[in-house]
Point group: C2
Chain length 252, copies 2
């Protein structure tokens, strides 16, 4: 049985201020914890049921602290409605833009707010081999439990940084085209994507901010076959991101 | 001020059993209610703040009952964390497969479970001009508040039906190709899409069920440029659906 203090030291990591103070975040679920343990990320502690530990406990590095919990204790620890038998406390990797490689594929997120969208975009980027994402300072935090959950383990393979995107472009990306989605852009089928293109995805409600839009070299519209206003006003941000990454992937 | 009974008659529509019993569902938010009022769907009641009613109240049909609510009452009525100033009680349109047109674009959802995915798929389908979706009986209910919210108004333009998909194919779709996404499929860039193709998207965890998979004429892989297992295991269902619809849209 785990004590009250232990439960509170874990559950407070559901909140950003405690994650920031400790440099730690939570990873839940068999798939995500499995990916985490195979990654170079630092793991401080594993909390798991007897069932999970009997299968995987012996493979854990001796530096990882192990805590046995019952399924009902897991319900108290978890941010999920239906908790899985394992949870990890991990060390936040660096989110400093200095670790980016400016000659590799890169996605930018400008003030993206929805954790589900963020997680889905990280998962899709991982699938399409885009292993770096530069986010504006106001973009949702990658260590938010809902983001981590939606990545389905891809947070272990995709570097996510937070920085001033306009300065980043000015200082490091003058040699690359910057593609952004705009309702006033060139229809996507008329655009020849290049592997070196950087993709920018904007905020769910407001799109790409005015200052950043000025840095976009190519404005692109994922166009609809439906003429007139009698259709969806726009695509969801994670959908637009996926279609742009899909096109980039086949640009070779 | 609205009474307790009124509040309970509205909030119970957050639950499927009361929606089914009454044939009514809730629509929240300025954008979605606006789309609803412009659609042929039946609207029984509008609950709105003074602010909203002063702008739009005079345009409402006299058959619609109007209830003035305060912002704090709206918080009690709403399923949202941040309620908007208007909510509507609408009549469920038919979800019977008999209303489908088997010569028009069609998407199929096999046991899709996540409301956010469902809503996003409806929104994307609306954008790409696919105005009919046939769902397996176990697919999440389109009138679920989270689905309605994620459609961003597109539920008013896309017909969603529930039926036995295998029988539907056998009886009505023998003249069309049935495309499904499979990790063992043909890479998507090698597939020539045709405007008449029907797209099937499977369950988030298990993909397309075995019996339905037997009816799929063309198995397609949205392939990754990353070789080996060190990548996302799959794409999110709404992302896979979007990429398939995007390709179909440019198949002409």
């Amino acid at each position: 049985m785990i004590g009250k203090n232990k439960i509170s030291s874990i559950t407070r990591l559901h909140q950003k201020k405690f994650r920031d103070a400790s440099g730690l975040f939570l990873v839940e679920g068999i798939k995500s914890v499995g990916d985490l343990l195979r990654s170079p990320m630092g793991v401080v502690e594993i909390l798991a049921t007897e069932d999970w530990l009997s299968k995987y406990g012996n493979d854990l590095s001796p530096e990882i602290s192990i805590t046995l919990v019952t399924p009902s204790e897991m319900e108290r620890l978890s941010a999920w409605k239906n908790p899985q038998p394992v949870m990890a406390v991990a060390q936040m990797p660096s989110t400093d833009a200095e670790i980016l490689d400016f000659d590799q594929p890169l996605l930018m997120l400008d003030d993206l707010r929805d954790p589900g969208n963020m997680g889905t975009i990280i998962r899709t980027a991982d699938w399409f081999g885009i292993r770096q994402i530069a986010c504006s300072e106001n973009t949702v935090e990658v260590f938010n439990p809902k983001v981590i959950q939606a990545t389905m383990g891809s947070f272990t393979r995709v570097v996510v940084c937070y920085t001033d995107l306009e300065k980043l472009i000015d200082r490091h990306l003058q040699h690359r085209r910057i593609l952004g989605t705009f309702l006033s852009g060139t229809p996507i089928q008329q655009v020849q994507f290049r592997p070196s293109d950087v993709i920018v995805i904007g905020n769910e409600a407001n799109g790409i901010s005015e200052n950043l839009a000025a840095k976009v070299t190519d404005k692109i519209l994922i166009d609809s076959p439906v003429k007139g206003a009698d259709k969806a006003e726009s695509l969801n941000a994670s959908i637009a991101a996926a279609i742009m990454m899909y096109q980039l992937n086949f640009s070779v």
